[in-house]
Symmetry: C2
Subunit: 458 residues, 2 copies
């Protein structure tokens, strides 16, 4: 009986302690959200990054400016250490404005065609490329048509990003194979060029860039993206005049590799400094637009995490690192370098959180993968209910993926994705497309989650 009594007391005590700690946590989390909303520093920094620096593809002068800008912000925050990490990055440049037109057609030669080169594509040079057009809905469909149908032609991947998907990223992933691998697969069948329908569910006038991957030992053919409204029109035109030709001219090229940097700020852990928690976004962006949602937002939110820690005098028990990753868009060299340094230095990276899905209202944080035990973290869900944020399984982000082999738990902020592809990789991804409250709520969510990780472990 005494034993049972002792046990019951112990449970009650633990329960009491737990409740007290949850209560303290919920108060601190409320402070975090209120601070983020009433002192919108991430939003102010983002304005500078977008308006004074602008689009910042790896290797560009603007990317260098962004490195310096974020280093300087972090220098003002009173962190324990701010440093850069050298990274060799590909240096792709777009060159002069792309051109495209329909030729050998009486009806459609004046049709507007808004295009842009795909990132990493070779250019056509002054002579351009011209050919009949073969329209397909998938790489599989093209392969089934075979060399006879494809050789000497321009392949038009008219893959629609369908609205019916609840999560637009699902649609993006399905429709995106043409952009990612279309050029190499078409080249294998002798095509001379590739046109992909822009990746957005909207019918609009903005070509969406994004990177392609050339497979090894395959001839590199030029590739462009076409605005969705023009893709619809081209598809109709082809039904009427299947023999029309398409001409395009791009002046992009890949220059020799160049030196750039990840930018890193550190708050040293007070009790377990060897356990490292990373939070970041990618500092590079496409040259079209200002890289506001993709991924200026995630970068500024990540710095905001450290600022709010300092502001609220939160002293993390574990080490918090804020990382601006370079070159996510067309090489991932920053993410690879960060993980490789971690491995060389035998660092213990317990968790990494990336924000790279836009500065929209946060809906969830995805945590870990199926092989990892993340139940302790998922149990914090209750603390996020007042903010309409859920903690769910399966997280990550491109830049932090290389940390996974080190056993790191990868987490990702998941904001409302409904508007993301209205702006993604276009001239429309500008500061004005970001709402202050939405951006700051994302920063608050990241801060609150990392506060718990830093204090309680994973």
């Amino acid at each position: 009986m005494k034993r049972i009594f002792t046990f019951v007391c112990l449970v009650l005590c633990l329960h009491g302690a737990c409740a007290q700690s949850a209560n303290k946590d919920s108060l601190i989390i409320r402070q975090i959200y209120e601070t983020a909303l009433s002192e919108p520093k991430a939003y102010e920094w983002l304005e500078y990054l977008c308006k004074k620096i602008g689009g910042r593809l790896a290797g560009s002068p603007e990317a260098s400016a962004a490195v310096e800008f974020t280093r300087q912000i972090m220098d003002t925050l009173g962190l324990d250490r701010v440093y850069v990490q050298e990274v060799k990055v590909p240096h792709w440049v777009r060159g002069r404005q792309e051109k495209a037109r329909i030729t050998h057609s009486q009806r459609f030669s004046n049709m507007p065609l808004r295009v842009c080169a795909l990132g990493n594509s070779v250019g056509t040079g002054e002579q351009g490329v011209e050919g009949n057009v073969i329209e397909v809905k998938s790489i599989k469909e093209m392969i089934a048509l075979g060399k006879g149908a494809v050789a000497g032609k321009i392949v038009f991947f008219n893959m629609v990003m369908e609205n019916r998907h609840i999560n637009p990223f699902t649609a993006y992933s399905i429709a995106g194979e043409g952009r990612r691998n279309g050029a190499s697969e078409a080249s294998k069948l002798g095509a001379v060029g590739v046109v992909v329908r822009s990746l957005t569910t909207k019918i609009d006038e903005f070509p969406h860039t994004g990177s392609l991957r050339y497979a090894l030992n395959v001839g590199q053919i030029p590739a462009i993206a076409l605005a969705t409204v023009d893709a619809e029109a081209l598809s109709k035109a082809l039904k009427i005049e299947p023999n029309l030709k398409f001409y395009f001219e791009t002046h992009c090229k890949m220059l020799p590799e160049i030196t750039s940097y990840n930018v890193i700020g550190e708050l040293k852990g007070t009790e377990k400094p060897e356990e490292i928690i990373s939070v970041g976004g990618h500092l590079d962006s496409w040259d079209l637009g200002e890289g506001a949602h993709d991924d200026g937002a995630g970068c500024m939110q990540s710095i905001e995490v450290a600022r709010i820690f300092k502001k609220l005098n939160i002293k993390p028990k574990r080490t918090l690192r804020v990382v601006m990753f370079m070159n996510e868009e067309n090489g991932l060299k920053g993410g690879l370098k960060y993980a490789s340094e971690a491995q060389i230095l035998k660092e213990k990276h317990i968790l990494a959180l990336e924000s790279d899905a836009g500065g929209f209202t946060p809906q969830s944080i995805g945590i870990g993968d199926e092989e990892q035990n993340v139940t302790k973290m998922l149990a914090w869900s209750k603390l996020f209910e007042p903010y309409h944020v859920t903690l769910v399984r399966n997280g990550g982000g491109a830049d932090i993926t290389p940390l996974r082999p080190l056993g790191t738990v990868l987490a990702g902020l998941r904001p409302d994705a409904n508007r993301y592809f209205d702006y993604h990789h276009t001239t429309q991804d500008v500061f004005e497309a970001v709402n202050m409250r939405e951006l700051q709520l994302g920063a608050a969510t990241m801060t609150a989650f990392l506060y718990l990780v830093a204090m309680e472990g994973i």
Copy 2:
């Protein structure tokens, strides 16, 4: 033993039936969401309502056009009945563009002042109104200052809608007392006019209108809203020159009551037609802007509910009514009429759902109040998890509030509110401010919830 066995069997069977039904429901709900996203009719109708008709204050020709437009849409849907309900509404008109300036000041007489009359306000007429300005942060502060300080002056309610609140509606409700009651309270102390800071957390150039209420037996003094950026500037100017004067001129007036209509469409219940479920928004809007989020969105979503029912061949067991309420903004006469007719006809209104918080990504449906048992409905939460929507206690909406005394459960769609007050009651509340996916997800959420109510009761 046999008894226990029988009991266990029964439980298992019931459990099986339950699971089967939940599975069927989740499939139908998925169909509802996919239909809403892939056939964006609410969005198309909203474009017409905003661009062809525009702002539609009760009593205006545009309000009449909106009545006819929505009646005609419903007529095409194959509902069992479409009809209008006559409502007498106040007829307030804004008249010529308002003017405001600072006078008796050397430094500030050229300061821009973007203003608009508050709805229901009396106008100043050609002679305008002029006076020294007394700035207060609350009605309480003004009352404490007393008649001596207020008489003959213009009261400037500079009540800030604070960003720190997680829910912007909380901030709106707190800061809104100046707009709602400031004129009457100031009049009691002898003020000659009222200027209120616009209700938005942003610092911008758009005056936000909205209605005031004149108390009975109190002199009616004119009132205007001032853009937040100008409110900040006026406050600074007053610190430098406390004796400056403020002049404004408004030509608004209240005309005699006029006849308008609620528009109602009905799908008759197959099993319990006497149990009525209403879904609606308000068809009137402010004259500034196009009433896109407020509340064209809610109206078009409500009609979309009926369209999706028909499209998916959902035959509701209970009667579904789609209601376009007239005159929410400055009188609520449509909502009052609908409830009064329900009472006269002794109708049994089991539940009413309003969408009047903008066409943004849905976050929750609020259901019932503390006196009502809504546990059965809250238990449907699981079905909404894939859509990041929660079912929570406490719902409602202005237009359906008059149904509450009939025992009706009031529910409200709660979308993401972070951008709502960027547009609310201004020239900025236009079709372009609405995202198709967000609007349609709201419609899908309403449809899914009402499908469950119509089939399973409350």
